[in-house]
């Protein structure tokens, strides 16, 4: 084995690190545009899925432009703050804020029917979960939902992304006698089936509970806005 001086070792390490850093920065910067675009398309496809529109990577932008008429940000008092388009990822930072919480929503129209899409974000068992909830014109009946997750268990918590879990949300109502009750995600046997409850995932109890809390946390602040729309 050859002996290396300390100076040589330090120089070697420093040069190596510099070269590696340069290579990584170059890759990251040159691919940034494409990655950003992929993320935007994914958001658009998620919103379209919640509205019940099937899209592919290629037609997502056209369909989004066709059906989604604009975005709004309201405050908990129900007043419009801006027209910024905020995604479910942006909602994460807003959860838990008080009166200055930004409440984003998307306005959509399909076959002449108006819809409101609410981005939601919360915590599953292992990491973040998020999604989009599309409401019909009455701001109470659910048109459809979309959920995604960062690292829930495949086959258990990760089932929140499946049609089997999502479909029963359609037609449920978040208002009960003028009161916003959100949608409960509960296990069979512990509830009587009604308009405000969907079946939880067996084996995915913690994820189901997280999703239940996410819907409550993210829909309740819109109460004032929804009421204004309903009147």
């Amino acid at each position: 084995m050859k002996n290396f001086s300390n100076l040589y070792i330090f120089t070697f390490a420093a040069v190596l690190v510099l070269l590696v850093a340069a290579a990584l920065s170059f890759t990251a910067l040159s691919l940034q545009g494409r990655q950003q675009r992929n993320r935007e398309i994914e958001t658009k496809r998620s919103i379209l899925t919640s509205l019940g529109v099937t899209s592919t990577v290629d037609d997502a932008e056209t369909l989004f432009a066709k059906y989604v008429k604009g975005s709004l940000v309201v405050n908990p008092a129900g007043e419009t703050v801006s027209e910024e388009a905020m995604t479910a990822q942006d909602v994460k930072e807003q959860v838990g804020r008080g009166a200055d919480r930004k409440l984003p929503l998307y306005k959509a129209e399909i076959d002449g029917q108006p819809y409101t899409v609410i981005p939601v974000a919360g915590k599953g068992l292992w990491g973040a979960i998020w999604g989009y909830v599309a409401l019909q014109g009455d701001c109470s009946t659910i048109k459809g939902v979309f959920f995604d997750h960062a690292s829930e268990t495949p086959g258990l918590g990760a089932e929140i992304t499946t049609d089997k879990f999502r479909t029963p949300f359609a037609g449920k109502r978040i208002y009960e006698g003028g009161r916003l009750v959100s949608i409960k995600v509960a296990k069979k046997g512990t509830y009587t089936p009604d308009d405000h409850t969907v079946d939880a995932i067996s084996g995915g109890t913690m994820t189901s509970k997280g999703l239940d809390a996410m819907l409550k946390d993210c829909l309740t602040p819109y109460d004032n806005y929804f009421k204004k729309q309903q009147n």
């Binding site: 190596l16 890759t27 494409r34 992929n38 994914e42 086959g155």
Partner: protein, 209 residues
């Protein structure tokens, strides 16, 4: 093989056959369990590991005379980690869906024992060409097992191949059911175990007395 010397060729073929990284050296098992629920992510994972393994082998082999012995493991780690980040970035840009499916496992290529094992055992003492072939061979050897396992798991676990249904609907109507166990990681371990059993049963010299 006229273009390669026999040792170069052997560096490529050994890991494809009896010296397979997964079934003989029992390396890279963790990711073999994780990404083999479906064929597509398994193939992308196999390509990614092959690319990282071959490239890092070349880099380390080129540097082998200059790498200070006392920090060689760190140097290997830095090289592997940067290549993995580059692969991850490329997947995010060009194969976004697959990169979402593979999620953390791309990052975990860094911890795949095949890479560090080959760098330390082969690239540190062999020429760049031999090391490149060794990296390719090990990547393919790993990929071969991944694809076999993923094929069986996707076929019997969800009745699909590449996400398309291959088991006819009429089978389900007469009572055929997908095997839910196939989706779970333990089944991957059992399949890998069966492959190892098969290989060892065929090669007597691999059996301990």
């Amino acid at each position: 093989m006229s273009i390669f010397s026999s040792t170069t060729w052997e560096a490529f073929t050994r890991p494809l056959g009896k010296d397979n990284p997964v079934t003989t050296q029992i390396l890279g098992i963790c990711s073999a369990l994780a990404v083999t629920v479906q064929l597509k992510p398994a193939i992308v994972m196999a390509i990614s590991v092959t690319a990282v393994c071959a490239c890092s082998n070349i880099v380390i082999s080129l540097l082998r005379k200059y790498i200070p012995t006392s920090i060689r493991i760190i140097v290997q780690l830095v090289v592997v980690a940067s290549l993995v980040i580059i692969v991850d970035q490329i997947l995010k840009a060009f194969a976004y869906d697959v990169s979402k499916q593979l999620s953390v496992y791309v990052g975990l290529i860094i911890t795949n024992c095949i890479l560090m094992g080959r760098l330390e055992a082969f690239a540190m003492s062999n020429s760049p060409l031999d090391s490149f072939m060794d990296g390719l061979g090990n990547g393919f050897g790993y990929g071969k097992i991944l694809i076999i396992v993923a094929f069986l798991r996707e076929l019997f676990g969800s009745g699909n191949l590449f996400g398309l249904q291959v088991i006819p609907q009429s089978f389900y109507e007469v009572g055929y059911m997908n095997n839910g166990m196939m989706i779970q990681p333990p089944m991957a371990l059992i399949i890998v175990g069966c492959i190892i059993w098969f290989i060892r049963a065929r090669h007597e010299e691999m059996q301990e007395k």
